[in-house]
C-alpha cells in the first residue's frame, strides 16, 4: 500500500541534509553557506509538518528502508516525541547558524567555509537519523558521523587550543563510541536482533528464561556508559569545558544544545524501546541518580570559579546535563518526560548564550575574561538582553523555559515519591541557588556601569540575521515558559506511543 505523503518525511529529513552536506563540500564558501541555511530552514519546516501530522492524529509509524522491513531490513520510526525533539534540535540549529553567521565569517577562513557547511549538513542528517532510528546499529553509524563532524566543528577555528580541545574531545568520545559498539555487539550475539521492538521481545524472553543475564546487563551497562561519556555526565565531563569554550560560537551552540543532547535522547529510546524499563532504568537508576546528583552540584561549583565568560557557560552545561539525568534516574514516565522537556528548554537557552556571548566579546575587542567584559551588555544591548534572558532561563526565573523544566522535574519527583523525592527537591534548590550565583553574577558584570577595560570593537553594519535569530530565540524561551503545558503533554503522548 502507498503511504500518506507525510509519512515519507523521515526519509527526506535524513537524505536531504546528507546530500546537501556532500554537495556543500564541492561548492564555494558563500554558495555553501546559502545551501546550508536553506537546508536548515527546510529541515525545521519538515520536522514541524511531521509533528503536526503525528500529533494531530496521535500516531506513530515505522518506515521500512527498502522492500523488506523489520526484522530483516533497516527501519525508521516517527511519532510525536521524535518529531518534537527533532523540531527542537533543528530549530536550535537553524537559529544558531543564522544568528552566528557573522561570527563564522570572523572565525572561519572563507576557503574552509565549504567544509564547515559540509559538517553542518552531515550533523543535521545524523541528528535526524538518530532521532528517527528504530535500529541499534543505524544509531551507531550516525553516532560516528556526529562524533567526527563535531570534532571538526571544534577544530575549525584557527586557534591552537581549539585543536587540542578537538583532539581531547575525539579521544573521550571515541572511547564512548567504542563502549557503545562493544555493548551493541554483545547484545547482538545474545539476541540476534538489532531493531528495537524485536530486541525488546528477545530481551524479555532472555529475562524470563533467566539466561545469559550477566552478559546482557553488561551490554546495557556498556552502552549506557558510552552514551554517558558522550553526553558528559559529571565524572566524564572533562572534555566538555575546553571543547565548548575554545570552539567558535556556532560550534559551541551546536555541541551543547544538539550533539550531547542527542545521545541522551538515544539513551532514553534504548532504555524505553529496546531494553524495557525493567532491564535498564530500574537497574541503573540509583547509580545514575548518584552521578547526576554529584554533577548537578559540582558542575555549578566549578562554574562559580571560572573567570572567563565562555567557560562559565561551558561549566553550566555540565550542571544542566546532570539535571537532565536526574529526570531519567527517577525511572518514571513523568521523570523521562520532564528530562525531555529539560533538554528542549536547555537547548533553547544555551544556544542563545553561546551565540550572544560571541557578540558581547566582540563588543569588548574580543576579550573573554569576565573582568574585561564589564559593561559589555551596554555596548551591545540586544546581545545583552538575550544573554540576560538565557541566564534567567537557566536559573529558573518564572516565565522562561528553565523554570517550567525545573517545575516539571519537581512535579515528577513528587509524583514518584520515595527517597528520591526529598533528594531531588533538595538538589534542585541547591542547583538553582548556585545557578543564580554564577549566572546572575555574570549578567550583573555584563550590565555594570564601570568602563569596559577592552577596546570597543569596530562599529559594524547592523547584523539583521543576528537580531532576527535572537528575537526568535527569546520568543522560543518565553513560549516554553508560558506554554509548557501543551509541550509536556505532547511528550507524554509520544512516550505513551513508545512501547
Amino acid at each position: 500500500m502507498i503511504l500518506a505523503w507525510w509519512q515519507n518525511l523521515p526519509l527526506f529529513l535524513v537524505l536531504c541534509p546528507l546530500m546537501c552536506g556532500v554537495a556543500c563540500s564541492a561548492l564555494r564558501g558563500k554558495a555553501s553557506r546559502c545551501v546550508t541555511a536553506a537546508m536548515c530552514a527546510a529541515e525545521s519546516a519538515g520536522m514541524a509538518v511531521l509533528l503536526w501530522y503525528t500529533a494531530s492524529g496521535n500516531v506513530s509509524f515505522t518506515y521500512a528502508m527498502g522492500k523488506i522491513g523489520a526484522p530483516f531490513g533497516n527501519e525508521l520510526r516517527a511519532g510525536p516525541a521524535e518529531a518534537l525533539m527533532g523540531l527542537g534540535f533543528t530549530l536550535v540549529l537553524t537559529l544558531s547558524v543564522t544568528g552566528g553567521n557573522r561570527s563564522l565569517t570572523e572565525d572561519v577562513e572563507s576557503k574552509r567555509m565549504n567544509l564547515f557547511g559540509a559538517m553542518i549538513g552531515l550533523l543535521t542528517a545524523a541528528t535526524a537519523a538518530i532521532v528517527f532510528t528504530n535500529d541499534l546499529f543505524t544509531a551507531y553509524v550516525f553516532i560516528e558521523i556526529t562524533t567526527l563532524s563535531a570534532c571538526a566543528l571544534i577544530g575549525v577555528t584557527n586557534r591552537g587550543r581549539a585543536l587540542f580541545s578537538s583532539a581531547r574531545y575525539m579521544v573521550m568520545n571515541l572511547l564512548g563510541s567504542g563502549l557503545f559498539l562493544l555493548g551493541l555487539s554483545m547484545l547482538y550475539a545474545l539476541t540476534g536482533q538489532l531493531l528495537f521492538p524485536q530486541l525488546a521481545s528477545a530481551v524479555d524472553a532472555l529475562i524470563a528464561e533467566n539466561r545469559y543475564s550477566v552478559s546482557m546487563y553488561l551490554s546495557f551497562l556498556l552502552m549506557g556508559l558510552g552514551l554517558c561519556i558522550k553526553s558528559a555526565l559529571y565524572p566524564f565531563h572533562t572534555w566538555l569545558p575546553d571543547a565548548y569554550s575554545n570552539a567558535t560560537a556556532v560550534s559551541g551552540a551546536l555541541l551543547s544544545s544538539l550533539v550531547s543532547k542527542l545521545y541522551i535522547f538515544l539513551l532514553i529510546k534504548i532504555a524505553l524501546r529496546a531494553a524495557g524499563e525493567e532491564a535498564f532504568i530500574h537497574r541503573i537508576g540509583d547509580v545514575l541518580f548518584l552521578y547526576a546528583a554529584v554533577g548537578t552540584v559540582l558542575g555549578s561549583v566549578h562554574a562559580l570559579y571560572q573567570r572567563k565568560l565562555s567557560r562559565v557557560i561551558a561549566y553550566s552545561s555540565v550542571a544542566q546535563i546532570a539535571c537532565v539525568y536526574l529526570g531519567i534516574a527517577l525511572g518514571s514516565g513523568e521523570g523521562i518526560a520532564a528530562a525531555l522537556f529539560y533538554i528542549l528548554a536547555h537547548s533553547a537557552a544555551k544556544s542563545m548564550l553561546f551565540v550572544t556571548s560571541h557578540k558581547l566579546r566582540r563588543a569588548c575587542g574580543g576579550a573573554d575574561g569576565l573582568e574585561d567584559l564589564r559593561g559589555a551588555a551596554r555596548r551591545s544591548p540586544l546581545a545583552g538582553l538575550a544573554f540576560l534572558a538565557g541566564a534567567c532561563s537557566l536559573v529558573g526565573i518564572p516565565g522562561l523555559g528553565g523554570f517550567a523544566a525545573k517545575m516539571y522535574l519537581a512535579q515528577a519527583a513528587i509524583g514518584g515519591g520515595g527517597w528520591r523525592m526529598p533528594a531531588l527537591l533538595g538538589l534542585l534548590a541547591v542547583s538553582t541557588t548556585l545557578n543564580a550565583a554564577y549566572m546572575l553574577r555574570t549578567a550583573l558584570i555584563l550590565y555594570s556601569r564601570d568602563k569596559p577595560a577592552g577596546e570597543a570593537g569596530k562599529p559594524k553594519a547592523r547584523d539583521a540575521a543576528f537580531a532576527a535569530a535572537t528575537a526568535v530565540m527569546i520568543g522560543l524561551n518565553l513560549f516554553l515558559g508560558f506554554c509548557g503545558r501543551p509541550v509536556i503533554e505532547l511528550i507524554h503522548r509520544g512516550l505513551a506511543l513508545f512501547s
Binding site: 537524505l15 556532500v22 527498502g66 523488506i68 571538526a152 584557527n158 591552537g160 536482533q193
Partner: protein, 331 residues
C-alpha cells in the same frame, strides 16, 4: 654534515616535522600560559624583601618552572597527568574494565551454539531469501547493500566525514608565504624517494595486477566475495603505491584534489539518490522498475552493481586522500 645526514633517518624526519609543524602551536599556547594566575603569583613574590629574594632565587625559579609545566600539562595532556594517584586510578579503572568485560564475555553463548542462533530467524532468513529477493549470489553484499543499505549509506558518509575533517584540520595554517613554500618544497625533495629503481620496477610489475584485481573485486562484488569496500581498499593501496614509486608529479597528472572531490562527491550523491529511490519505492510498495537480470550474470542484482562501484570510488578516494593528507598535509 652529520646534521644533514640525520635528516634522512625516518624518525629524525618525523621529529623534524613534528618540531616545525608544532612550533606555531607552541607559541600560541605560550601566550595563554601567561594567564592571570601566573601573573598573580609573580606579583605576590615581588613584595618579598630583596634579601630573601636573593636567597630564594633558585627555589623561585624552580617553582616558576613547575608552575609553567603544570599549566602546560593542563593544556595539553590534562591537569593531573603527573600525579601518582591519577596513574594508580587509571590503572585500577583499566584493569577493572578489562576484568568486567572478560567476566561478561565468558558468559556469552559459544559461537555456533545452536540454541541461541535458533532464536534468530533473521540469520536463516538471510541465507534462504537473499538470492531470490536481491539477486545477489554473494549474500554479504545483498545484506549490506539491500537489507541494511541505510547503514551502509551512513558508513560511506562516515568515510567522507573523516576525510573532510582531516582536510579541515590539517589545512589549519593559513596562506603560506613564499619562504614557507620554498622550505616545504625543499623538505619534499629530501623526503621524496629518488627514482628508486627497485621500487619503480616492482610497482611497474605489480600495479596493473593490483588495479585490475581491485576493479574485479568491485565489479564482481555481488557474485563473489568482495564488493565496494574491499575493492576500493585495493585500488586505494594501488594509488598509494603509484605515488610512492613515481612521486607527486606523476600522480598529479591524473589524480588531484579536484579529481578527488569530483569523484567522491558525485559517487556519494549518486549513492544517496539511488538508495533514496530504492527506499521510497520499497516503503511505498511501488515497483522500482530496475531490471533484476538473471542471477549470476555480471549485469544482475538491480542496483547492487552501480552501488558497489559508487562505494568503491568513495573508498579509493578516501584511502588515498587520508594517506596523502597525513603525509604532506595537502594534495
Amino acid at each position: 654534515m652529520p646534521a644533514n645526514k640525520k635528516k634522512h633517518d625516518a624518525f629524525a624526519r618525523l621529529a623534524d616535522w613534528l618540531e616545525n609543524g608544532a612550533q606555531p602551536l607552541d607559541e600560541e599556547i605560550g601566550e595563554s600560559l601567561a594567564d592571570e594566575a601566573y601573573e598573580e603569583e609573580n606579583a605576590a613574590e615581588k613584595t618579598i624583601p630583596s634579601v630573601e629574594v636573593k636567597k630564594q632565587t633558585p627555589k623561585k625559579k624552580k617553582r616558576q618552572e613547575r608552575h609553567r609545566r603544570k599549566r602546560r600539562d593542563a593544556l595539553t595532556v590534562g591537569a593531573y597527568a603527573d600525579a601518582w594517584w591519577y596513574r594508580v586510578t587509571a590503572f585500577i579503572v583499566c584493569v577493572s574494565l578489562v576484568g568486567l568485560l572478560l567476566y561478561g564475555v565468558v558468559r556469552m553463548p559459544l559461537f555456533g551454539n545452536a540454541d541461541t542462533l535458533a532464536d534468530s530467524e533473521v540469520a536463516s532468513f538471510y541465507v534462504t531469501h537473499t538470492l531470490e529477493e536481491t539477486g545477489a549470489v554473494n549474500i554479504v553484499t545483498g545484506i549490506i547493500l539491500d537489507y541494511r543499505g541505510f547503514d551502509t549509506l551512513g558508513e560511506s558518509h562516515v568515510l567522507f566525514v573523516a576525510v573532510s575533517s582531516v582536510l579541515l584540520l590539517l589545512s589549519i595554517r593559513g596562506e603560506k608565504d613564499e619562504q614557507e613554500r620554498l622550505l616545504e618544497s625543499d623538505r619534499e625533495q629530501r623526503t621524496e624517494p629518488d627514482h628508486d629503481l627497485v621500487l619503480q620496477g616492482g610497482a611497474r610489475l605489480l600495479l596493473p595486477l593490483v588495479l585490475i584485481f581491485g576493479i574485479y573485486i568491485i565489479l564482481n562484488g555481488h557474485l563473489s566475495p568482495g564488493g565496494g569496500f574491499s575493492g576500493g581498499a585495493v585500488l586505494g593501496a594501488g594509488l598509494i603505491l603509484y605515488q610512492n614509486a613515481f612521486g607527486y608529479d606523476r600522480i598529479g597528472k591524473f589524480f588531484t584534489y579536484r579529481t578527488f572531490r569530483a569523484v567522491s562527491v558525485s559517487a556519494l550523491l549518486f549513492y544517496a539518490l539511488a538508495k533514496g529511490y530504492h527506499f521510497l519505492t520499497g516503503a511505498n510498495h511501488i515497483p522500482g522498475g530496475i531490471p533484476e537480470g538473471t542471477a549470476g550474470a555480471i549485469l544482475s542484482g538491480g542496483l547492487l552493481l552501480p552501488l558497489n562501484i559508487a562505494v568503491g570510488c568513495v573508498v579509493t578516494c578516501t584511502m588515498y586522500a587520508l594517506y596523502t593528507m597525513f603525509r604532506r598535509g595537502a594534495f
